[in-house]
Structure formats: structure tokens, C-alpha cells
């Protein structure tokens, strides 16, 4: 299935979407950019940290709510679009449900296990408790209420056409996000024969019954790193941080890198992926 078809079918306006669930690696930027191109609106984004992708989708006006532990640019600092939305309602106001990295993982595990909540010590003593209705005191502990995404979008190294996905490197909250979600969109570097992945069934991330779409999208995580394939493009993150300082700068960036491009392959033709490719695997 093409990226455009997968987003068209499985990411409707108003959807609760989990992305960037491996933290800094394997961020599904190509999927996020297609969501922006298709002008999705009123999304709720769910994730742990987001290394610039949520910032871009907020700046593009796709987002009604953010349910996350951290939104910014990991090597550069603040998320300028996130700031403008939270501080000035530009391009629109957003609702923020703050989490910690641990509590968003627990919220997704609760949904994965179909439990209403998981009792936790985190984030006791934090004002986050007062800002997020999904975190509630219960005696000496916190009830971390379940967060169930409509769809999780996960970039992996390889997958077969049936949805047997395999990823490696640190996994963040990938597994709980996929299990918690009603369905999963896989975007992958390599689309492989089932025999390749089913030789190691322990390493299949999700049951095939959860996977709604598989999209072959090599380089689909740029500028984030893909273990065994690509290093992180630090300069690209730096340039994005600079450009997005003003609304005008962000709008120009978005036109250049997303809106004026028909698809990911055009984007990649403007990137020196070879310079980022890992040589040792």
C-alpha cells in the first residue's frame, strides 16, 4: 500500500495517533508529512518524547491535543511551534495532557491489557498530576488511566507484506503503543519475504491481526536514526530549529520540505542519505 493510501484510509480527522514511540530513533517522519499534506485536522498525538515531528504537525495545524511527556527538538531544545500553539494559540490552540515517559508507557500498557488504569508511584509530588485528568490520586498512589490510540504508526527496519514487523536498537514504548492501538500502520526500510522475518518469530513486534497497513518507505524516518541503516542527521534538526523560530520561517520550511513535495522520494532526492548510511552492518 502507498503511504498516501494508508494515511487516507486509517488516519481520519480527529484520530488519536501514537507516533515516535521508539523515542529518538525510528520516527515516522514520512507518515507525519503525508498527514500534513492531506491536511488532517483535530488529531490527538500520543507519544513519549517527540524529536520535532509533533512540533511540525502542531505548526501545520493538524493537532487538537497532545498527550505526551516531552515535545521539542532533542539536540536543539525548545519546540517553537509547540510554544506558539501553547502560548498564543498559533496556528490554533491545543489541549495538553502532560505525562512523564514512565506514565505514558503505563497508560499504554493499561490500554494494551484492557485495564482501566495502572497504579504507580510516578508522578507523585509533581504538578503534572493537577494538569492531566488521566492521572488521578488514589490513596498513596497515582492511577495512570489507560490511553488507547486509534492507530499507532511505527517505522521499522523490515517487515513482510502480512505485517510481521521487526525492529532493533532501543525500542522505547513501541510494543505497548502497538498493542494498545486499535490498529497499526507499519512503515519499513525493507519489505521482505515472510521467511526472512518468520525465521525469528520472537522478534516480531505485533500480531499480524493488529497491522492494518504495511508501507515500504526507505528513508522514511529521516532525519531520525535507524539502527543498522542511518545515523541521525543532526544538521537537519539544527536547520529546522533555526527555521521554525518564527511562524513565517516555519511556513517556508513546511512548504519547502513537505507541502510542495508530492511524495517521500522527492524529499529524499534533496538529502544526502549516503552520508548518513551506517557502514558497519
Amino acid at each position: 500500500m502507498s503511504m498516501a493510501q494508508a494515511i487516507e484510509r486509517f488516519v481520519p480527522d480527529g484520530a488519536r495517533v501514537a507516533m515516535g514511540v521508539a523515542l529518538e530513533p525510528l520516527i515516522p517522519f514520512a507518515a507525519g508529512h503525508e498527514i500534513i499534506r492531506q491536511r488532517r485536522r483535530d488529531l490527538e498525538l500520543v507519544g513519549p518524547i517527540s524529536d520535532s515531528l509533533f512540533d511540525q504537525m502542531i505548526g501545520a495545524g493538524c493537532v487538537r491535543q497532545v498527550t505526551a511527556a516531552w515535545v521539542g527538538n532533542v539536540s536543539e531544545g525548545l519546540g517553537h511551534c509547540y510554544r506558539r500553539a501553547a502560548e498564543q494559540g498559533i496556528p490554533r490552540s491545543i489541549v495538553i495532557h502532560d505525562h512523564t515517559n514512565f506514565s505514558i508507557a503505563l497508560a499504554l500498557w493499561a490500554a494494551a491489557w484492557n485495564a482501566p488504569y495502572i497504579p504507580s508511584r510516578t508522578p507523585l509530588g509533581s504538578d503534572i498530576l493537577n494538569r492531566n485528568p488521566g492521572l488521578e490520586m488514589d490513596g498513596d498512589l497515582v492511577r495512570v488511566h489507560a490511553v488507547r490510540p486509534d492507530v499507532a504508526i511505527v517505522h521499522v527496519q523490515r517487515c513482510d507484506a502480512e505485517g510481521h514487523a521487526q525492529a532493533w536498537g532501543p525500542m522505547g514504548i513501541t510494543e505497548e503503543a502497538g498493542l494498545a492501538a486499535s490498529s497499526v500502520i507499519i512503515t519499513c526500510e525493507d519489505l521482505v519475504d515472510p521467511a526472512v522475518v518468520l525465521r525469528h518469530p520472537n522478534r516480531v513486534l505485533f500480531p499480524e491481526t493488529k497491522v492494518a497497513a504495511v508501507v515500504r518507505e526507505p528513508g522514511g524516518a529521516h532525519p531520525s536514526p535507524v539502527q543498522g541503516y542511518f545515523n541521525r542527521d543532526h544538521a537537519f534538526y539544527r536547520d529546522y530549529a533555526q527555521a521554525s523560530r518564527t511562524r513565517e520561517g516555519f511556513d517556508a520550511w513546511l512548504e519547502q520540505w513537505v507541502l510542495d513535495l508530492p511524495d517521500r522520494s522527492t524529499y529524499l532526492s534533496r538529502i544526502d542519505l549516503g552520508a548518513l548510511r551506517m557502514s558497519d552492518e
Binding site: A22, L23, E24, P25, P48, I49, D51, A68, A69, W70, V71, G72, V74, S75, G77, L78, G79, Y82, R83, A86, E87, I96, D98, H99, T100, N101, F102, S103, A105, W109, R121, T122, P123, L124, G125, S126, D127, I128, R131, D140, L141, W168, G169, P170, M171, G172, I173, T174, E175, E176, S224, P225, Q227, G228, N231, R232, H234, Y237, M278, D280
Partner: protein
């Protein structure tokens, strides 16, 4: 100052590295603490281990530049690549000896704000949020934060507690609220090292960095800060510490910015 043999950041990294004890399990975080871990591991803490919430455990620090903890050079040579929940399991069990947390604002009781400056409903500045900071503050045995020493950052009371230190400063606040760990052990700034009384309370100046004065610290701190009776000068980075820092940050991305 132009001929200083080391930068403010290099001094902070050296001081932070001395907080790591041999054998510690360290929740490393990003930026300067990664360098502090590398320095410690190569000198006085050869059996320390580093945990990264992205889902990694390491013994040796990465040998190439890291922009983030999830970069491939941090995976190469890792002892364990896993899911975040597994790393958090160790934290939740109280097995993490030391954590590093980044902060935009800290108050006299060691509470960190990385969420909202001003009214959260209409913030003056929306900061990125907790990440794993609150988890480390609540659950690690002790933790340390590094910060530029400015009046707007070292405030009397933070407007929002993202990562709790000693709360309202009253004795036993952490225990009463069910927080597992011991709280902040030190605030390392560009001017000095702040520490806390045993069991919690208000931060005081334990040592002032070479070339700096307590008067400077007072004028850059937004509460009436006290000096320790035995306040000293922070030992400068040694040649070995500087060599180690420069080996792991060869371009000076983190320490010469």
C-alpha cells in the same frame, strides 16, 4: 577570562562526574551528563553502568558524538537494548543510584520546572515537559541537575513542579508524599555547587567555582541564599578530566557552545 584553560561547561562536566561513584547504576540523560558519565567511567568509576530511558544499558561510554541517547553510536557496544519499560522497572525498584535531570528553573527546595513558565493555562513560556525527568526525581536514590546560574532560573518557588525535589521544604515531605528516592544531591551551576541538608530542606552554597565569588552567586540567585559554614572553592578540572571531556566532545558541541 579569555585565556581560561577550560570552559564553564567543562568545569560543570568535571564536577558532575565526581558525583558518580564506582559501581553506581546511573540514569544518564543527555547533553553534559553523558560527558560526565564518560569522564567518571574512565577515571574513578570504572565499574559504573549507564542506563538510558530510550532502552539501553552501557558500561563503556559511546566513542562517537551523540546528538541524542538513541543515536547508533550509543547502541554500538551496548550491554542491553530493550524497551523503555524494562529500564523503568529498575528505576521503580529503587535500583538506580544516581540520575541526571535537565532543568530550566529550579527553586530553593530543589524542585525543577521544565513545563510551564507562568500560568499553565496561558503560559508565558511552554517548555518541552518532563520526559523522564519526573520519573528520575521521584524514583532514583539521588539526583543531580546542571544549570546556567541566572536569577530567572534559580527562583524562590517554581511556578510549576515538574520534577519534585523537597517539595515545600518541610521535613519528611518526600516520604509523606510516597516518593521513593532521596531527592536532589546537588545543583551544579555555572557559578557554584549547591547542596541540601540531610533529609531535605533549603539549598545552600557548598562551593564556589574558581574565579567566582559568593557575592556573584547571591546576586544571581532569586532567594536569600546561604553559604555553608565550610564553603570552599570548587576544585578545577584536572588535566585528565579535561582530556577525557575533549576526547568525548571533540568538536566542543556541548562544552564550547
Amino acid at each position: 577570562m579569555s585565556e581560561a584553560p577550560y570552559t564553564e561547561q567543562e568545569l560543570m562536566v568535571a564536577v558532575a562526574s565526581r558525583e558518580i561513584r564506582d559501581g553506581d547504576l546511573v540514569f544518564v540523560g543527555m547533553r553534559l551528563p553523558i560527558l560526565a558519565y564518560a569522564v567518571a567511567r574512565n577515571s574513578h568509576a570504572p565499574t559504573a553502568r549507564g542506563l538510558f530511558e530510550v532502552g539501553l544499558m552501557r558500561d563503556q561510554p559511546a566513542t562517537e558524538f551523540l546528538g541524542t541517547m538513541g543515536d547508533p553510536p550509543n547502541v554500538a557496544g551496548a550491554l542491553w537494548a530493550t524497551r523503555m519499560s524494562n529500564v523503568m522497572a529498575l528505576l521503580a525498584q529503587g535500583l538506580v543510584d544516581l540520575g541526571f535531570i535537565g532543568g530550566a528553573e529550579v527553586d530553593r527546595f530543589g524542585n525543577l520546572n521544565t513545563s510551564y513558565v507562568g500560568d499553565p493555562a496561558r503560559p508565558k513560556v511552554k517548555l518541552p515537559g518532563s520526559g523522564g525527568g519526573a520519573d528520575i526525581a521521584i524514583l532514583s536514590r539521588r539526583w543531580v541537575t546542571l544549570m546556567r546560574h541566572e536569577r530567572r532560573r534559580l527562583v524562590k518557588d517554581v511556578s510549576f513542579i515538574t520534577s519534585p525535589g523537597f517539595g515545600d521544604g518541610s521535613p519528611g515531605w518526600r516520604g509523606r508524599h510516597g516518593l521513593l528516592g532521596g531527592g536532589p544531591a546537588a545543583i551544579i551551576t555555572t557559578l557554584c555547587v549547591l547542596r541540601f541538608p540531610l533529609g531535605g530542606g533549603e539549598a545552600y552554597v557548598a562551593s564556589v567555582h574558581p574565579g567566582r565569588t559568593f557575592a556573584e552567586v547571591r546576586s544571581e540567585t532569586a532567594w536569600d541564599i546561604r553559604a555553608a559554614d565550610d564553603m570552599s572553592e570548587t576544585p578545577a578540572p584536572t588535566d585528565a578530566e579535561l582530556a577525557s571531556i575533549r576526547r568525548f566532545d571533540p568538536g566542543g558541541f556541548w562544552t564550547r557552545g
